[in-house]
Amino acid sequence: MTILKSADALRAKKVSSLELTNDTLEKIGRENPRLNAFITVTADVARARASAMDAELAHGVDRGPLHGIPFAHKDIVYTKGVRTTGGMKIFENFVPDHDADIAISLERAGTVMVGKTNLHECAYGITSTNPHFGAVRNPWDTDRIPGGSSGGSGAAVAAGILPLATGTDTGGSIRIPASFCGITGLKPTFGRISKRGVMPLGWTMDHMGPMTKTVRDCALAFHAMGGPSTDLSSTDIRGLRIGLPLNYYFDRLDLEVSESVRTAVQTAAALGARIIDIKVPDIDALNVIGRVLLLAEATTVHLENLLTRRADFGSDVVTLLDQGRLIRGSDYVDAQRLRRIYIREFSKLWSEVDCIFTPTTPTPAPKIGQTTMNVGGVDEDTRLATTRLMRAINVLGIPALSIPCGFTKSGLPIGLQILGAPRAEETILRVGAAIEDATSVVGRRP
């Protein structure tokens, strides 16, 4: 059930928060052995919290649409008294003494936390094949990755266990699992949602955001996390200018991905949007800048542990952290100087269009353990291929929404990425809701 439907049912007294929570816990018990989406489940605390939320509603205290709704935090968000591992062996017994800002915001909104979701180790990767807590599996095909790093959040929402989970996105970590799992994920504008109390990976590119089944739920959760309220009562997009990149984003894609995204473009046009061909600045350059920045920042975050507890990291993460040790300070600063130039260059596009449509990922979900993939006749490293349409957006800091826009013949979800100008989350959520309303993609279940 979506947040909206659950909220209506709660207020109509057709269901209680405790019943929703017990149902969620039962689904975790049934699905988690198959998906490994959760590292920690907080059943007793969740039941007590749900009862308290029911009592509030019974006494006329209504905190809004998320009141009494079960959800989960990515296990990188500090939760007071509940262990927060970051998917790392080093933090396997770490229990924070305070909540992250986002945990406080969602608690104030009345949510019921049922647990913490599995992720790629320290959020530094796209597979969520975690060497310490096990591989998360994609509910659409359990031989495949759910994407990452917020893979547990993506798998849990896609499997219908929860209507909401939190995610972080430093190079696609919300949008990639949203694409591979067939759900909605919003990476807001840089700095819009507080990161205080969330384990960092790259300070200048980390973003917090919601992962939900539908766009309307995503808008509600974004507001509860500290974002502005979004009015989606009307999803009229007539006259809206949608940019369609002529360069880069459609150059090398899985054919079914390309077809689905172009169908979404046609849907938007049929709804009255104006489709405008655009040329985007050098995305390859932005990706290179982003890699230099992230290598240096992530290694700085984890340097002490890398030097003292190297064997406690997975081999893929160690390799990336070692690469970061080789980045010169002057190269890092130059990458930040280049970033400013490209941000200004990209921002000129917003005088031509209101949003931009691209694929989220060039392919559907790869198999677990697949290290290379052939995309459009070219063999690519799976991590670099999967982040190729993502990373630049973190460098730019602009908002990006991923929604499901179709399925492959083999039944794997395909994601549409909608980019907006800084602080234009309302626009991309409105376009996403319009596309969602006009298609039947969201109704499909694994």
Binding site: T189, F190, G191, T204, D284, A285, V288, I289, R291, V292, L307, R310, V318, T319, D322, Q323, R325, L326, D331, V333, D334, A335, Q336, R337, L338, R339, R340, I341, I343, R344, S347, L396, G397, I398, P422
Partner: protein, 55 residues
Amino acid sequence: MTDWKKTAAALDPPIPEPDVEKLLPVMDALEAAFRPLQRSLTAESDVWTGPEDAA
């Protein structure tokens, strides 16, 4: 191009030798892509300091 083996060995502590080999192709490719961008910078190119720089 940077001699990554030499750089890795000079770090304190150095990156373990068996692990350095697998870094080389990635670092070479990254450097080959980054240096031309770097050369486009001018004395007026200021550093990014936050979201307001996008304005």
